[in-house]
């Protein structure tokens, strides 16, 4: 009897030691850099977000069960030819990078992964809301040190190998790598218009110009946020980019 008691005690202790891979993000509101008219604050409902970006190891597990998303099988509609280009073969990611973020994945493949684990991609606003959090504050953008840190991350070139997701910056919610690792897909990455699309011009729309105008009067440390929006609007859903991964959100689609 006593032995059983000790067993349960150990089990409880060990489950305390293992952190959940999902983090609950409480509801809040913030003024997004773009996509809000007249710079109004937007409400973000509570949702759950994966603590880390999805790793090569996790994506490999997904590919075992869903062969149609393997490099050799995926349809061109859903990914360009560079899809998983750094993988050793159909099921094995780059050597020694099991716990590093998966990159070179298309938006379609990222979504399929999310669906397979009962989740979805976070919306742009959800992602940006969580990205505002520093190690100590939900609105870390008020902290000059945090802004400087982000700026430094964006200025740094990509490493040859991505570090393990656990070894990255952790914010106040306990979510890792919102900055300082890879870019991430969001569900509505294609929600900003581009002016003169028909002329093949890639300059961003009025929305962005307005924000850009606003930015010129602001601290240049807001530049990383601007970069993220500009980067997203340059993407197409079948693109596979070497420094673009994703993470999973759970809960009602906003």
């Amino acid at each position: 009897m006593r032995r059983v008691g000790i067993f349960w005690l150990l089990l409880c202790l060990s489950s305390l030691a293992i952190e959940s891979t999902k983090v609950t993000i409480p509801a809040g509101s913030f003024v997004p850099l773009m996509g809000s008219q007249k710079r109004q604050a937007l409400a973000v409902a509570s949702f759950q977000l994966s603590r880390y970006p999805v790793t090569n190891g996790e994506f490999g597990q997904f590919l075992r069960v869903h062969p149609e998303w393997r490099r050799s099988r995926i349809k061109r509609l859903f990914a360009e030819s560079g899809y998983l280009r750094d993988w050793v073969d159909d099921l094995h990611g780059p050597k020694g990078q099991y716990s590093s973020p998966v990159t070179n994945v298309s938006w379609f493949a990222a979504r399929a992964y999310c669906r397979s684990v009962g989740g979805r991609l976070p919306s742009q606003n959800e992602w940006e809301w969580v990205a505002q959090a520093s190690a100590s504050e939900r609105n870390g953008m008020r902290q000059p040190e945090f802004r400087r840190q982000i700026l430094a991350w964006y200025a740094r070139p990509n490493p040859e190998h991505w570090p393990a997701v656990q070894k990255t910056y952790r914010n106040v919610y306990g979510v890792h790598a919102m900055h300082g690792l890879v870019w991430e897909w969001v569900e509505d990455f294609n929600s900003l218009l581009v002016t003169g699309e028909s002329r093949g011009d890639s300059s961003l729309d009025l929305d962005l110009y307005c924000a850009g105008g606003a930015l010129s009067g602001l601290d240049p440390s807001d530049y990383p946020t601007y970069m993220r929006y500009a980067f997203r609007s340059s993407l197409k859903a079948r693109y596979a980019v070497p420094n673009l991964g994703f993470r999973v959100a759970y809960g009602r689609t906003p």
Binding site: Q37, L77, R120, L193, K236
Partner: protein, 189 residues
């Protein structure tokens, strides 16, 4: 009797196989979502195979760009010969499935006098996003329930391949007509 039945069965099977040649990898009809039309009938993309199709994403309470897009599509239709018209279908997909119920889509089709070769579809928000991503169509809902969105008309061949895409409100109807005639002139598969 048995042999006769067997022959009929085999013929049917052969016919079914012929029309079910695998889609090319880049066909839009590889999408697996389900949609309902203005009459509440459910469609899958693969069911839409077989007809040349002019496609646009719109929302019915739009007062700016969408009416112009629908008008351009109607003009394209009007400039086709009666024989050509029979072989071209028109598809409007709502980017606002919350507001655009099947009833709303039917009213819209009636008000705009869209013929029986016009299909108006609504689907799940995530499926609209997927379709839009496939077409490189950009949109977002604004706080005032209006949408900011690309102006785009896409021409699909009978197998769901994008043949022509017009971006912006410039009048691309001549180019679209040329592309359409070319498609219709090609021998049917």
């Amino acid at each position: 009797m048995i042999r006769k039945t067997l022959t009929v069965c085999l013929t049917i099977a052969a016919l079914a196989l012929a029309s079910a040649a695998p889609l090319s990898e880049t066909s839009l009809y590889n999408l697996e979502s389900r949609w309902s039309d203005q009459n509440g009938t459910v469609h899958r993309w693969a069911d839409l195979r077989g007809e040349v199709r002019v496609v646009a994403l719109i929302y019915t309470h739009c007062r700016s760009v969408c009416p112009a897009i629908v008008q351009q599509m109607k003009e394209t239709e009007a400039r086709l010969s009666p024989a050509e018209r029979k072989r071209v279908a028109f598809l409007l997909v709502s980017m606002d499935p919350e507001a655009d119920t099947s009833d709303q889509l039917r009213h819209f089709a009636e008000n705009r006098q869209l013929g029986p070769n016009w299909l108006l579809l609504r689907g799940k928000a995530a499926d609209v996003r997927e379709l839009a991503s496939t077409l490189d169509f950009k949109y977002r809902k604004n706080s005032n329930r209006e949408f900011s969105h690309s102006a785009m008309i896409t021409l699909l061949d009978a197998d769901g391949e994008i043949v022509d895409q017009q971006l912006g409100l410039g009048d691309g109807s001549s180019e679209r007509l040329r592309a359409l005639s070319k498609l219709l002139a090609a021998p049917s598969p």
